[in-house]
Amino acid sequence: MAFTIPKENYNGKVYEVELGVGDRAIKIGGESTLPFLAFEGEMPNRPSIAIEIQDLPPSDWPDTVKKVYEKVSSNPVAWAKFCQDELKADAVALRLISTHPDQKDTKPEDAAKLVSEVLNAISIPVIILGSEHIEKDIAVLKTVAETAKGKNCIIGKAQEENHKTIAAVAMANEHKLIAMSQLDVNLAKQLNILLTQMGFVKERILTDPMSSALGYGLEYTYSVMERIRLAALQQNDGAMQPPIVCDIGKNVWKTKETIAAEAELPEWGSLEERGIIWEAMTAAGMIMAGANLLVMRHPKSIELTKKLIEELR
């Protein structure tokens, strides 16, 4: 019996989306195959990784990752430059966490001022994230999207309850948009359809299926993403073809595995390595399931993930 390569025939492909402007702009997506299966399709762009920074010193990050940024994290502009210049980041994800009413309830204008400073300080693409507070994000993202006009940023996250306004400002200011739904293939599809029905160009959407960390629901995100990808490729379903973004750092670095000291749980081993591998292994799971853009925190986890991506190509 002779072996013949069992190839699948796909009809569809993932949209290719460009982020940022100028020399440092990046492209994600565009693949016509399941992740890294080069024998049956193209994967023109490798998954990119954005480093997460925020507009407040990260008091709730574990020390393992907090200490990496301790010299810059009190100043978001310096932090962004550090990511670009020292860590050679593909992109930066600026989370405007201080705008949340439970945090400092920072005013949209103040958030916009900071966004403008960050954008002026670096040339790599910027992902601008709100605090995921439905109402406050509407006001904040509206103002910052206007400030960032012309920079081809990603704005997010639009959820079912606030997608109309956020999509409208992303569209008016020519940004890309993250559409986040709650861990369900049909909800992800429905939100993308709602966006296109209001006139948002579907090639400007990024799907966030709602990420989860290793050991904390990773298998749900993994399977939702595999199903989204299969629908995009096999059924050529346009509502399932935006690139997928996975915002994993914030899920990973609040798990007990990245926080608990070795003295407390000796059977879990060294905390330093444990935290780093927790984020890298989560990232590995997401790229195998089809992620095109990851938002991560620890430089060592990012370096490992990039090495893995290189080895997969």
Binding site: F39, E219, I277, W278, L304
Partner: protein
């Protein structure tokens, strides 16, 4: 090639006797075609038909057992490419490699690491299952002495005997042949001698060839030599080759019933950088490797890999559940708040994680609702005031805390009045936040 249900039906007795447990022969045939039942369930089938259908009804990937006794590892018998299509059945086994040239102290440490590798996660005991003894000196006596050492100091732990030299393998088998070790590996050059050892000692045999064409012919050759229990190694070591080869092997077996690849896959994730080794092994876990051999098994590394394996091999149809009880989170005292939620493992983990983040010690009362999330359980009537109240009463919570207040998830705020009534005199039900991520703020404000 796999037969359809109708084709199988033609060979059945067509008596509809129901002895197989199905109402009709056709129903049984359909189940056979879906590989959901064994042909042996039919007591009246002719030997001839049984032989014919045995082949067709066999799972596309053979089940292989490595080791003997209660620590034996079963791999293979997978039927899908994507876990959401059904599930992945037999979790891949992890082995640590011990070279026969390693210092005895190092060997001792690795054996000890295997023996103490067990962790408990969501009620499952997970561990490094196997030890691979690797021949580095091409010296049968040396290899045999290390095998003996491992057999004596790690009783019951299944072995992989790793050498391309049949006389080295034979020397090793002298100490463990009755324990069903996996022999690794037959190649095109040594296939006859290795196949003979595997047959004589009734051990599974791994075959190694460079690339999938060579692996196909070697698989057929070894099968032709009478070996039934085969494990495949295509030589893929780089992540890209692993992913491509394993995908092709799984697809060929499952979708095309390509017999030479109807066996589990073994891979070696050996890297100098232990973190990189973990990630490469992770690719194996997600993409169809059944046995993964590692150089080192540090605790942090195995925690990540065993957790990944548990995640990937979880049945997507059956939610993971935790045990119904009152969990103590942090240094909770008789004055600490009591939070009630369901026993869906994800709910439990996330709520527990947020309580820990809040640094406010609490009692977490987990009600068994068959693993449903809060809203689903509520809609199904399993997270009802009657059930919550009965659980609180029976759990002995009243002896644990000195107050009479429970916090319920914001999504089921509607339950609060009725729950207060069911709990009785003096009880107060507080409505908590809807999402767990609002718990820290909620608990902190409550503590003030």
């Amino acid at each position: 090639m796999a037969l359809s249900g109708v084709e199988i039906f033609k060979h059945l007795p067509k008596t509809n006797c129901k002895k197989c447990g199905f109402p009709t022969c056709l129903a049984f045939a359909m189940k056979l075609a879906a590989k959901g039942v064994s042909i042996d369930a039919c007591p009246d089938i002719s030997e001839e038909a049984k032989k014919l259908l045995g082949e067709a009804s066999a799972p596309p990937i053979k089940l292989i057992t490595i080791g003997a006794g209660d620590k034996a590892v079963k791999v293979g018998e997978e039927v899908v490419l994507f876990r959401h299509d059904k599930k992945f059945f037999n979790p891949c086994g992890f082995a640590v490699a011990i070279k026969d040239t390693e210092l005895s102290d190092e060997i001792k440490k690795k054996i000890e690491a295997v023996k103490t590798s067990e962790i408990d996660r969501v009620g499952q005991k997970l561990r490094v299952e196997m030890i691979a003894v690797t021949d580095s000196a091409n010296d049968p006596a040396k290899f045999a002495s290390v095998v003996k050492n491992v057999v004596d100091s790690a009783p019951g732990v299944p072995l992989i005997l790793h050498s391309m030299n049949p006389s080295v393998i034979e020397a090793g088998l002298a100490h463990c042949a009755d324990k069903r070790p996996l022999i690794y590996a037959a190649t095109n050059e040594n296939a006859d001698a290795m196949a003979k050892l595997a047959k004589d000692k009734k051990c599974p045999l791994a075959i190694y060839a460079n690339g999938l064409d060579a692996l196909t012919s070697l698989s057929e050759k070894v099968k032709g030599l009478g070996v039934e229990d085969i494990v495949l190694d295509s030589g893929a070591r780089k992540a890209k080759d692993m992913l491509e080869h394993f995908t092709m092997i799984r697809r060929s077996a499952v979708k095309k019933s390509f017999k030479p690849f109807g066996y589990p896959v073994i891979t070696f994730a050996n890297r100098d950088d232990s973190m990189m080794e973990a990630l490469i092994a992770g690719i194996g876990v997600m993409k169809y490797a059944s046995i993964i051999v590692l150089n080192s098994i540090e605790k942090w590394k195995m925690l990540s890999l065993l957790t990944l394996r548990q995640n990937i091999y979880t049945d997507p149809q059956v939610p993971m559940q935790v045990e119904q009880k009152i969990y103590k989170v942090g240094e909770a005292t008789d004055k600490s708040p009591v939070i009630v939620t369901t026993n869906f493992s994800l709910t439990y983990f996330i709520v527990r994680g947020e309580i820990e983040n809040s640094k406010v010690p609490c009692w977490l009362a987990i009600l068994d609702v068959e693993g449903l999330s809060v809203l689903t359980a509520w809609a199904a009537g399993k997270f009802s005031p009657t059930k919550i109240a009965a659980f609180i009463k029976e759990s002995g919570l009243e002896k644990t805390v000195s107050h009479k207040e429970v916090i319920i998830p914001g999504y089921v705020a509607v339950l609060s009045g009725s729950l207060e009534e069911k709990l009785g005199e003096g009880w107060k039900v507080v409505v908590g936040p809807r999402e767990a991520n609002a718990l820290p703020a909620f608990l902190k404000s409550k503590a003030v």
